[in-house]
Each structure stands twice: as C-alpha cells, then as structure tokens.
C-alpha cells in the first residue's frame, strides 16, 4: 500500500519511549500481569456559520497519556496530561491503587486473548490534505461560499453550515512488546437550508447528504463528492418538500437509499452484534442485545439476502485503523451470512471469555483520558454482485416510498423496536417516483425489518455513510464509525404520520 503521508514529527518527538519505560517498568515491579500505555494527541476544529456569517471557530487539542493494568486479575486505569517519566510512574501506581479498590467488587478474573507482537509499526490513514494545514480563512471562506449559493435561491431563508475535522495521533505500547504509532484524519462538512412560512408558522429544512469520511480537506474541493450538484438541487427539493402532501399512515414497500439505510444498519445490526452488549456489560446504559451468544449460528437475523461484515480496514472508513487500542491488527470478518448471525465484535478480554483464538480488534478509547472499551467496527451490508440500480429497484415497486437521507433515529435498549425519519420521502406509484411526501417516519422490529428485505442493490448503488458521534460506555465516549450499503427494498413496513403522532 502506498503511504504518501507519515505521522507528524511533532508527535513522534514526544518522549514516547521514556514514558513507556517508566510506566511499564513500574507496573511490572508492582506485580501487574499486563500493562499498557497510550499517548494520544487529538486535534479537533469545528467551524460553524449562520447565514454565511461566522458563528464560531473552535480549535482544540487534547494531549495526554493513560496507563492500564491487570493486577491480580482486576483492571486498573489512570490517566493524566503531564508527559513526564515521573507522571508515567505515578499513573502506573495510581492504576494499581484503582485495581486494589475495585477488587472488592470484582469476581471475574481478567485475561486477554493472545495477539502477535507488533514491535515497531506505523499506520497513516488515507487522506491527501491535512485540514490543519489549510488556513482558517480558506476553510471559512469555502463554507461561506457554499452557504451563499443556498441563500441566493428563492425560498431559502436561513442556512447553517459547519465543518468538523479531526486529526487523531495515537501511540500504544504494552508489556508484550507491541509498539504502534498511528495518525488518522477525518472530516464532516454539513449544510442545512431552512425555509420559514411566517403566515402559517411552519418551517422546513433540508440537509446535505454528504457523509462524514476518513478523508482530508480534499473532500470539499476534489471529486469524491459532488458539492456543486448537491447544493444546486437542495433549494428546489426543499420547495417541493414544503408543498408535499402529508403521508397517509399505513404499510408500504420501502426503497431505502444508502444515505438513510446506513443509520438503520448502525442501530439495529452494528450495536446488536457488539458482544459486550450481548453479555450485559452495557446493560445499565447503552443496553443489551436480542442477539445473544446462545443463538450464534442459528438466529435468523434477516432474509437470506442479508450479508453483513465487520471491518476495520475499509478505505476512508471512520473505524478503520492499523491496530486497535489493545494492539490488535485491523481485520475483516462476517457478522451475518445468508441471513444468519455468525459473528460478533469483540475485544481481547471478551475473545478470551468466548474461547476465541484472537480478538477481531474492536477496542477503542475516544481520548487519552478514557479507558478502551469494545467499539464498533465498520459494519456494512454487502451489495449483490450483479444487483440492480436504485431506479430498477424503484421500477419494481407498485405502491411504496423511496427514503433518502437520515434525520431522526431512536431504538430500544435491546435493539428491537426502532423509528427513523429522513431528509426526503418520495411516493412510488407503479414503479415511478410521484413527488415528495411529508411527515413520514418508519417503525419496525429489527428481525421483521431485515426479514422483509426482498431486493439488494448492486455495487453501483453502494455508499459508505457514517457518523462521528456514536455514543457508548460510562463515562460516555464518542466513536467515529462508517457503514457501507447499497440501496435495498423492504416489503410492507409500518409508516407513521408524525403530525398525527403529535396528536394534531
């Protein structure tokens, strides 16, 4: 693989080896059976504009280190922000104290599945232009120009624009001898046009569909997303939406665009196949899963067309890494095959608990101050190799709705019952689109929904969607993750009218 870029010198110049020696030596001296140290520097910038005028530019950098130990079978974790050998020693000692206080409530001995040693390893994600090398005036200027294009159109009264970009640098070392250095860049541009009808007091908005991506500033200026096309069509689409009829509640065949379906995959498959949830580690917070380990290999998750993979390797994927936060190399594996549950996302302790030979590399901490937990891989729906185009799928529907773009989402704590809305909904009549609809939400139970999937689109419909802000764990951690999928058809799904739901 061509590695055009390298980890920034300013990160490599931090005293990584000295901190490692200090922390790991102290941890071993104190009797720990495992210890690791992470040094992370995370740069985050968010530019926001309101009606093409700057609202805020924030520029943050989070630099710190953390020591994690297994002491007499119990975890201990301590984190700080002073990068000196003395502080690394103090953190190793504090992590052991945390393990000792916690031993009073620990009954499960912590053991880690083995992983080959990655002794001197470097990974840089696939991007061209580091957003932090681009002057702020250029970034703000481009977002203002994009905003102006929307504001110039009839009917668009307000525009919000924002761009968040992150550069994440991680160093990891453990007592087995692994030493990894990584640099990942990601970006999330977002514009929303709003129209207000003061006479009726109603308002309506429409947002760009461009997903967040593991790319650099070239995402806004290069050819990987058609910004000009999308900005040009939003005002007319918004105008059409405000005049669209309210949906009649009932059951419809849905054709769901990747811009909406990625989030349904995230909520109803991505989270449901996290083994820590299935084992109950998240039971009091993020929740559990209906897809319990006793059903591995037998649970009919969806129709035989359903092929779901987990990976930490997809190009431009937000969860793509070289190694996870326990030194495990990024991998790809099956989660659902021919509609049946066949795999989970795990970390090293859970892999050991399940008797697996190796973790599939899903440990992640969102900052130097947080402990790594099992987080989501890029969980994706495979397209049908010779599958149809979106137009062909729509062409096969007699009475249905074509769903585009994500908006509101909610799912229960066992990942059964969900409700989603979207940016645009089109009525389908006899295989053709017949104008937009308003006030649509679709509601279903996970296995019914995936069981109703009757057509899977081809590779030409495949899009990698995703989010920066997937939430899990206490203290709360936000993780970036991507989900690729083709357009797909779902038969006879329950559609609600949200105005009726509000009792109006």
């Amino acid at each position: 693989m061509l590695q055009a870029r390298s980890v920034d010198e300013s990160f490599l110049a931090l005293p990584l080896s000295a901190l490692t020696d200090a922390a790991l030596t102290r941890a071993v001296d104190l009797g720990c059976e495992h210890a690791d140290i992470r040094v992370e520097r995370i740069r985050t910038q968010t530019i926001s504009l309101r009606d093409a005028r700057p609202e805020a530019v924030t520029d943050g950098e989070d630099l710190g280190l953390a020591v994690r130990v297994v002491h007499e079978g119990t975890w201990g974790f301590a984190a700080g922000v002073v990068l000196t050998a003395a502080e690394a020693v103090r953190l190793a000692e504090e992590a052991v104290v945390v393990a000792k206080v916690s031993a009073a409530i620990n009954t499960d001995r912590v053991e880690l599945a083995p992983e080959p040693v990655h002794a001197d390893a470097t990974y840089v994600s696939d991007y061209e232009v580091d957003p932090f090398d681009v002057p702020d005036v250029d970034k703000t200027g481009l977002l203002a120009e994009f905003s102006e294009r929307l504001l110039a159109a009839d009917g668009v009264e307000h525009v919000r624009a924002s761009c968040m970009h992150v550069k994440e640098q991680k160093y990891y070392a453990d007592t087995a001898g692994t030493r990894t250095r990584q640099q990942r860049v990601r970006i999330h541009p977002d514009l929303t046009a709003l129209t207000v009808d003061r006479a009726t007091g109603s308002f309506e908005s429409m947002r760009t569909l461009a997903p967040p991506a593991g790319r650099g500033w070239e995402y806004l200026t290069g050819g990987s997303w058609d910004w000009a096309g999308e900005l040009a069509e939003i005002p007319e689409l918004l105008r059409e939406k405000t005049k669209a009829p309210s949906v009649e509640a009932g059951r419809y065949d849905l054709v769901i665009d990747p811009s909406n379906l990625w989030l349904t995959i995230h909520e109803s498959i991505g989270h449901a196949t996290e083994l820590d949830r299935a084992l109950g580690y998240e039971a009091a917070y993020a929740g559990t899963s209906f897809a319990t380990p006793d059903q591995l290999g037998t649970l009919q998750y969806g129709s035989p067309l359903l092929q779901i993979t987990g990976d930490r390797t997809a190009p431009h994927g937000l969860s793509t890494v070289g190694w996870d936060d326990e030194g495990v190399a990024g991998q790809e594996w099956d989660i659902v095959s021919d509609g049946v549950l066949v795999g989970y996302q795990v970390d090293r302790n859970m892999a050991r608990l399940r008797g697996l030979p190796r973790s599939n590399g899903c440990a992640f901490a969102d900052s130097p101050g947080h402990v790594p937990v099992q987080r989501m891989a890029n969980v994706s729906l495979r397209p049908a190799p010779d599958g149809p185009s979106t137009e062909e799928i729509i062409g096969g529907v007699e009475r249905g709705i074509y769903v585009v773009g994500d908006k509101s989402w909610s799912i229960d704590m066992q990942r059964y019952n969900f409700q989603f809305t979207g940016q645009r909904f089109y009525r389908i009549e006899d295989g053709t689109l017949a104008g937009q609809l308003r006030d649509v939400a679709y509601q279903a139970t996970t296995t019914d929904f995936w069981g109703s999937m009757s057509v899977v689109g081809g590779p030409q419909t495949y899009v990698l969607g995703g989010a920066f802000n997937c939430g899990k764990a206490q203290p709360g951690q936000a993780a970036p993750v991507s989900h690729g999928c083709p357009t797909a058809r779902f038969d006879q799904v329950s559609v609600l009218n949200t105005v009726q739901e509000a009792g109006r």
Binding site: P54, E55, A56, V57, T58, D59, G60, E61, T74, W75, F77, A78, A79, G80, V81, V82, E94, V98, V101, S102, I105, T107, D108, P135, D136, V137, T140, E157, V196, R198, A199, T200, F203, L279, G280, E282, A283, A284, Y285, F290, G369, V371, S408, S410, D412, M413, Q414, Y416, N417, Q419, T445, A473, Q474, P475, G476, S494, L496, T498, A502, G503
Partner: protein, 468 residues
C-alpha cells in the same frame, strides 16, 4: 516569559495571568479548568471498568478589531501547552475569523458569588469510593442470594475553573458532580428495574437505599401484564419528567424562536413569550444557588452559538424563571441578540427545576390516588422527530408498572412513545411536590435537576417494544 517555571508546574492562576500577559490582541479572556474524576462500573454483580483521571484544559479567546468589527478566536489545549504558541494560535484564529455577529463589549463587572481566586483547585480521587465500594460489594452478595444481578455506574468529578479577562475579571467556580445508577435484572434479563441519584460528594449516597428501591421494583415485576399501544393515563416520575424538560430547556433559544424556527416561534412572527403553556401553575426555573444543585454563578463559554456568546464570558448567571405559573416568561438570549431585539439578556444555568408551588402530595400519594394507570420509571433514547411541535420519540425503560386501585399490580411491556414536552405541560393534570432527581437519558451532560411527578391523562404509547 514566566519566571523560568515549566508550564507543567505553573498553577492554574499563574497560567491565566501568563496568557493575559502574552496578549497582543485588543482583548482576551482565558480560563483554565482543573478536572479530576474517578469512576467504577459494574455488570452482573462484578466490576467491568474503572478509572481515575486528571486533566487541565486551557481556553484562550482573543478579540481583534479588524476595522469592520470585533472578531473572536477560541483555542483550547489540554495538559501543558506553550503559552506563547497558544496565545498566538488564538490571535491567528481571531484574525482569520472575520467580524463576529455577537460582538459586544466584554464584561468588566465581577458577578456575585464567584469563589476564592487564590485558593487551590478542588480535588477528588478513587478514595471517594472507599466506603461506597464495600457497600456495593455487600449489595452484590445480597442480590446474588436473591438470584438477581446488579449493573451500574458511579462517578465523581471535581472541576475548578479560573477565568481571567483583560477587562480585569478574576473569577473562580468549583463544580462537584456525582451520579450513581443501579440497575437490577433477573438472570434472563426479562425483568429490569432502575434506581439512581445525583450527589455532590457521595456522603449522602446510601447504597442500601438504592438497593432497597431496586429490590422493591423487582418485586413489583413478578407479575407480567401485556398491554397494547395506545393512550394511557400515565404517572411520569421525576426522572422521566427531567429528561423531557431538559430537552425543552435545550430548545429554548430566543434567536431560533425569533427567526421562526423552533417550537417557541409565534405564528406571524416573534416568539411565544407571554403564552400560557400549562394549566397547572408550573414554574420551570434555574437557580445557581439551589440547595444540592449548586451551579456556576457566571457564564463560561468556549465557543459562540445561538444560545451563548464568547463575548459574555464572566456574565452573571442569576436565578431565572423560564416558565412562571404556566406562562412562558424567558428564553435563552445572549447580550448581542438581546440588544438587537431590545429584550433582556438571559443566561442558561446548569440546573433545572420544575415545580408546582401549590402541590401538596408526594409521588406515593399520587400512585395511591390512581384508579388505573401506568407508572413509568425512566425514559430512553429520546430524539427529536419534528421541531415544529417539538415532537420527541423514545422508549420507556426499566419499569412500566400497572397501577390499579392505588396499588402496583404488575409490570407491563415497554413502549415507544411519541410526545412533545410542550404539549405534555399543557395536558398535565397533577404535579407532586418537587424532589431532586437523576435524569436517566441525559446524565452524561446534565445531572442537576429537581422535578415533580406529573399525571398525564393520555400519554401516547405509539407501539410496543419487546425489549426489557
């Protein structure tokens, strides 16, 4: 530059002074937050994760007048940043930003209630759980003996913020935050209940009391009753009310309302201040001095938005009514928007209280006075469906109980709801006395709440959730 001391050894106050001294901008606000936290997390009667973390964050906001108006640039760093580089980055950001819409003169008058500038920051450590952890271990043993599992999380943090400005402000505030959640389940996870509390120091947390509440609700769950979707008379306990009211509070932006784009916009233009939202004499308010829920008495803002401005850093955040006796009285309005609208500037305080001052009953009495209705425990996965009505969707979680003739007679399946908190205020027919509560959904961001139980005659349970 800083008398030869390494930045890592500088006190927070010295760091603020060093940043202010290094400024070449027209004005500067710097604040340093010293943060310490400790946590324990457990599942199925055993520890899962833990931690003790310390950090220091430094935020420098520089203000530069480029001729066309004042511009602001905000830069934050954790750890031990180089002062000269940090200040330069902030000034560069200000010069690149262009004139700010929310520019107003910086605050120069010290607000009341700020703490002792010269004192050391407050701290916490894992030792805060020295008595809590063994008590929890005992609760695990008792749960095991009953054939039940306990899950949950306990966290304590201390943040001390030192804010200084080139206009002479030297302000300090301490914010202790603590929370405990205890979730009980049967081994097959089919029955699930919850209890939780917020705290400032863990001295008022009784594991035994939380465990007893869980045990009581597990007992209520012995009999299972399946009910279909529909509208039900529903008792929303303080925690469930808090999660709905916090979302409403986060939506109370004056500018969005004035621009016609939130639920508080008035048809025809302007906002709905003065409108009656509730028939009950309900008051929604914030008060930085509310006992047990004390919050910062002045504003600390890293970046401007429609509801807060970096120009307002250090502005007094006094007690305020958002809804008074059922009538909408205030929306959140930074000084710049207040000037534009000739309306009062208001500041969002980090606590929220809903009360009916005429209420005479407690939640237990409301249950006892219920002929047939649903008693909820908490709400979960609350998301906005329609901003026009502030329609929210979400799930009931960890205990929907059927009340018949004043008694809990069983546990009902969970539901997905679709409801607007604004509409609920209008439809509530009874409120209990207000008590401190822990929001379930939002406690990562918001723990300081005091709420009543509300009785709603027709809560919209949109569909059944098979989850437990």
């Amino acid at each position: 530059m800083t008398a030869g001391r390494a930045v890592g050894r500088m006190t927070a106050q010295e760091l603020v002074e060093a940043c202010l001294a290094a400024s070449t901008a027209d004005a500067q606000i710097t604040y340093v937050t010293e943060h310490a936290e400790a946590n324990l997390r457990w599942a199925a009667n055993s520890l899962t994760t833990n931690g003790a973390m310390r950090s220091r964050s430094v935020v420098v906001v520089s203000f530069v007048d480029g001729g066309a108006g004042m511009a602001a640039g905000s830069v934050s760093r954790t750890g031990t940043p180089d002062v000269a580089e940090l200040v330069a980055a902030s000034e560069r950001a200000a010069r690149g930003a262009g004139p700010a819409e929310d520019a107003v003169p910086l605050v120069a008058e010290a607000p009341p209630g700020a703490g002792d500038w010269s004192a050391d920051p407050a701290e916490t450590s894992i030792e805060v759980f020295a008595e809590f952890a063994p008590a929890l271990g005992q609760a695990f043993g008792e749960a095991r003996d009953r054939g039940e599992l306990l899950f949950g999380f306990a966290e304590h943090s201390m943040s001390t913020t030192y804010l200084g400005s080139s206009t002479g402000l030297r302000l300090r505030t301490d914010q202790p935050t603590g929370r405990v959640e205890l979730n009980g389940k049967s081994p097959d996870f089919a029955r699930s209940v919850w209890s939780g509390t917020s705290t400032r120091d863990f001295r008022d947390v009784s594991v035994a009391a939380l465990a007893a509440d869980v045990e009581k609700k597990m007992g209520w769950s012995q009999r299972r009753v399946d009910l279909p979707a529909g509208r039900y008379e529903t008792l929303l306990p303080p925690s469930a009310v808090s999660d709905l009211m916090i979302y409403l509070y986060w939506t109370m932006e004056a500018r969005d309302a004035d621009e016609g784009r939130n639920v508080f916009a008035r048809t025809g233009g302007g906002n709905r201040i003065g409108d009656r939202l509730a028939d009950l004499p309900l008051t929604l308010r914030s008060d930085p001095a509310y006992a047990g829920l004390e919050a910062a008495p002045f504003q600390v803002v890293p970046a401007s938005s429609g509801s807060a401005s970096v120009f307002d850093n250090g502005l007094a955040a006094p007690a305020i009514d958002w809804i008074s006796d059922g009538v909408l009285t205030n929306l959140v309005r930074p000084r710049a928007w207040a000037l534009e609208q000739t309306a009062p500037a208001t500041v969002a305080v980090d606590n929220l209280i809903l009360e009916d001052r005429s209420a005479t009953v407690d939640p237990a009495e409301m249950i006892a006075a219920t002929e047939r209705g649903l008693l909820l425990t908490t709400l979960w996965y609350i998301r906005e469906v329609d901003p026009q009505t502030l329609l929210l969707t979400g799930l009931t979680r960890d205990g929907v109980f059927l009340v018949e003739d004043g008694e809990v007679t069983g546990a009902v399946n969970n539901f997905r709801f679709n409801e607007s908190p604004v509409d609920l205020l209008g439809r509530a027919v009874q409120a209990s006395r207000t008590e401190r509560t822990l929001p379930r959904e939002w406690n990562d961001w918001f723990t300081r709440a005091a709420m009543p139980m509300l009785r709603v005659p027709d809560f919209n349970m949109s569909s059944v959730s098979p989850a437990s």
